[in-house]
């Protein structure tokens, strides 16, 4: 089976405090730790487990800049056979639909049976997979938590729905699935693995090779654009305890007593 996984390099929110830059136009990106978008990593692992069973190969692609090559290489160290960087100044300023349009053009250059994305990335939009599927007229399922191969070019999948329930469906190939975290246990990638793929060439594709123009997918075509960032004020905000650890523990004890936690 030929599988494409669409991945993204993102600031690692578990490793970083995210601050605004002084203009509020972006987050402060100096000194941020970047990594593969976590659900994307699960998607690559799932793809590798499928091809280990039935053969085929796993390709990873990202839309970005030279800096994003590192996540392609990381996923190739996991076992993906091919990595492709889609990068072109003409594609800057895309909205989600623009990214999906670029990926559509890329998918049509290949011959994939299955296309995976992570369920969402750093912007939390959870949009590109579903858009890509609709553009390709492929069936789609989001929040996928298991994939079983079936005969006759079908998969049996489960989706995560409310209250811990799992929705089981059958889906025809080729299709697009967005993968939820926890679907598997992604393999460890060590320095040795990274070094092994350090010199593997990663081709770059631009707008011309994909037959795209900026007015169909770039900033000019974007219907959605970020105006600015700001620090949210949801709710009242916590009363932050600024005491020493010992004082804070005493305060928590008081609260536990007051709220019925200790008798």
């Amino acid at each position: 089976m030929e599988i494409l996984v669409c991945v993204k390099r993102v600031p690692d929110t578990s490793e970083n405090e995210i601050h605004l830059n002084s203009a509020g136009s972006d987050i402060e990106r100096d000194d941020l730790v970047y990594s593969i978008n976590e659900p994307d990593n699960y998607a690559v692992e799932e793809a590798l487990q499928i091809t280990a069973k039935v053969g085929g190969s796993v390709s990873v692609a990202t839309v970005g800049t030279d800096e994003d090559e590192e996540v392609l290489r990381r996923e190739m160290a996991m076992g993906a056979s091919h990595g492709v960087l889609i990068s072109d100044d003409a594609l800057n300023g895309c909205d989600g639909r623009g990214i999906a349009g670029i990926l559509k053009a890329f998918v049509q250059k290949g011959n994939y049976d299955l296309i995976l994305t992570g369920v969402q990335a750093d912007d939390g939009a959870a949009q590109v997979g579903g858009m890509l599927a609709a553009m390709l007229d492929y069936p789609y399922a989001s929040l996928v938590t298991s994939i079983e191969l079936q005969p006759h070019k079908k998969l049996k999948i489960s989706r995560e729905i409310e209250g811990g329930n799992r929705e089981i469906s059958e889906i025809d190939l080729p299709c697009v699935l967005s993968i939820q975290t926890g679907i598997n246990e992604p393999r460890y990638v060590g320095m040795r693995g990274i070094r092994a793929v350090a010199s593997v060439p990663i081709p770059t594709m631009g707008a011309t090779e994909l037959g795209l123009s900026a007015d169909t997918v770039g900033a000019g075509a974007a219907k959605v654009a970020r105006v600015d960032y700001f620090v949210p004020t949801l709710g009242q905000g916590a009363e932050i305890l600024h005491g020493s650890r010992e004082e804070n523990i005493d305060k928590v004890l008081e609260l536990l007593e007051a709220k019925g936690g200790l008798r």
Binding site: G96, V119, G124, V128, P232
Partner: protein, 327 residues
């Protein structure tokens, strides 16, 4: 302004909890006009739900089809594309169903798409300015959305308050025949309920809830020891279940359990909206070493500290001061 629609999910003859929130969100776009609700399904449960919504929506468009007995987003999308007029604005909930349906719907309607919206305002007849959260809720963004050729907007459940508006008497409009036959490359088979866990976290007054900040499985005992002296249960957020450090039955959130304890100690939990959706009340104390963690926006009391050091000291202090534990 364009015609406003809200797609209303329903189950067992009752509209989704978000139905009136979606009406309120639509009214933010078009205050003067009650939106049109669209419901799909089959049988008496669909009819009941349609009737129940007539006071909040100007019309209720009903799509009745046995294929839609279960809301398969692929089929619902095809149904909607057949009946929703060009340039409409469609509002849906950003939940497991909305996430499944909305992105592809926006493509097929050739409409703008913006998701998980927590607030919005109309800038001019062709633009909306919405508020979204990024980076796990650490930062918010204003996003401008060109709605001149329509839009699909998913809103975060709980973000829009169902408001008091003069009741309308929306008529039920049959759209079944217009939709016609439906088929899709994805077919629903069954729903599997979660296995009952060893501990029912919904039955506890105090939850010691751990997140990614617990760092490794070998540290779970730190939370268990505190829970022991408090007579509490240990619950958790999604990353802990993903890593298989605790079973799914301990997960609090929209894809886990909904809990209403008296006291919730969020330990090393960042506070993703999906997690917060599972906490319905109670006093919330958050301990996290990241002062920017969104959990501090909603907690009652916050402590910026490392749980791996703070919790054991708290446990010792409880043992010292409350020698006979509450168990």
């Amino acid at each position: 302004m364009s015609q406003l629609f809200a797609y209303i999910a329903h189950k067992n003859g009752a509209a989704d909890d978000c139905a009136l929130e979606l009406a309120a969100a639509a009214r933010k776009i078009s205050p003067a006009v009650a939106p049109i609700a669209i419901l799909s399904g089959f049988g008496s449960e669909l009819d009941e739900t349609c009737k129940s919504l007539s006071s909040a929506f100007s019309e209720i468009w009903k799509i009745s089809n046995p294929e839609l007995s279960y809301p398969n987003a692929e089929l619902v999308r095809k149904a909607l594309v057949k009946i929703v007029p060009a340039n409409s604005i469609m509002v849906l909930a950003h939940d497991h169903f909305g996430m499944d349906l909305a992105p592809g719907l926006s493509i097929k309607l050739n409409a703008a798409f913006v998701s998980d919206v927590v607030d919005m305002e109309v800038i001019d007849p062709f633009s909306l300015k919405v508020v979204r959260q990024e980076f796990g809720g650490q930062i918010s963004a204003h996003v401008r959305c060109d709605v001149s050729s329509g839009a699909v907007v998913t809103v975060r459940p709980g973000a829009f308050r169902a408001n008091e508006t003069a009741p309308v008497r929306g008529a039920i409009v049959e759209k079944t025949i217009e939709v016609g036959d439906l088929a899709a490359g994805r077919r629903y088979l069954e729903t599997i309920e979660p296995e009952a866990g060893d501990v029912d976290i919904t039955k506890h007054n105090i939850l010691v809830s751990v997140g990614r900040g617990i760092q490794e499985q070998d540290n779970i005992h730190i939370a268990e020891e505190l829970a022991d002296v408090l007579g509490a249960a240990v619950s958790c957020s999604r990353p802990v279940v993903d890593a298989k450090w605790l079973p799914k039955s301990r997960q609090v959130g929209s894809s886990g359990k909904t809990v209403k304890p008296k006291l919730y100690l969020a330990c090393g939990i960042s506070g993703a909206s999906q997690h917060l959706a599972g906490i319905k009340g109670g006093f919330l104390i958050a301990i996290n070493k990241n002062p920017k963690a969104p959990i501090f926006q909603v907690a009652d009391v916050g402590i910026v500290d490392d749980i791996l050091e703070f919790l054991p000291e708290l446990t010792n202090k409880v043992r010292e001061t409350h020698a006979v534990s509450t168990k």
